[in-house]
């Protein structure tokens, strides 16, 4: 049973465009929501994370928006670059257990 639902499965965006990935969860005990970036043949790497008491967090071109009442959160990649082409996983954590979404493969066309 997947505890974090992620969409879309894949997306294609033009260079300079905005990529948006959405995630939803059910368990309100989750207390930390990280996003991981994974390139082919590599392990996932932490990109950005947010706590549920914050509605938005921005780091460079990456922004997390968090809606606690709707139990949804999203990743926005502004000014997408070809180097951003990767698979992105949202995740939710509680008591040392990290549950990952199924991933979104982002392709940025030059």
């Amino acid at each position: 049973q997947q505890q974090v639902k992620q969409s879309p499965q894949s997306l294609i965006v033009q260079k300079g465009g905005i990529s948006i990935i959405n995630c939803a969860y059910e368990n309100t005990a989750f207390d930390y929501f990280p996003w991981y970036q994974q390139f082919p043949g590599k392990g996932p790497a932490l990109l950005i994370a947010i706590r549920p008491d914050v509605s938005e967090k921005k780091e460079g071109r990456f922004t997390i928006s968090f809606n606690k009442s709707a139990k949804q959160f999203s990743l926005h990649i502004m000014d997408s670059q070809p180097g951003d082409s990767a698979t992105y996983f949202c995740a939710a954590s509680m008591t040392y257990k990290l549950s990952f979404g199924a991933g979104t493969t982002v392709t940025v066309r030059a």
């Binding site: 930390y32 929501f33 392990g43 996983f89 257990k97």
Partner: protein, 115 residues
């Protein structure tokens, strides 16, 4: 600083054969995780260690999978016997004990193909 090191990177075996994967975590990281990643899916936790103690192995298929972390540093994950459905990437990750529970550092993974 060296990251999480895993070996082998790739392994091809016949079904029913045994296989073992090794992981060396980041120095000073007391918490070590083994994750399973099937193609096109997110990682799923198999086992978590705090030092040498397995504190969460509820998702480890204990009939064929085993793991150990002697001396609280390196860890080995073993499958015996391997089945076709075990073909996947096995990821090792580590974190500082007591750190925010979502900040894991992953290795590059060991890709297993069972024929």
């Amino acid at each position: 600083e060296a990251g999480v090191v895993q070996s082998p990177r790739y392994k091809i075996i016949e079904k029913k054969q045994p296989v073992a994967f090794w992981c060396n975590p980041i120095s000073g990281h007391n918490t070590l995780y083994w994750y399973l990643q099937n193609l096109g899916q997110g990682p799923e936790l198999l086992i978590r260690y705090e030092n040498e103690e397995a504190v969460d192995d509820s998702q480890l298929p204990k009939d064929r999978f085993s793991a150990e972390r002697l001396k609280g540093v390196d860890s080995t994950l073993k499958i015996q016997p391997a089945e076709l459905g075990d073909s996947a990437v096995y990821l090792c990750a580590s974190s500082v004990a007591g750190a925010n529970t979502g900040e894991l550092f992953f290795g590059e993974g060991s890709r297993l193909t069972v024929l």
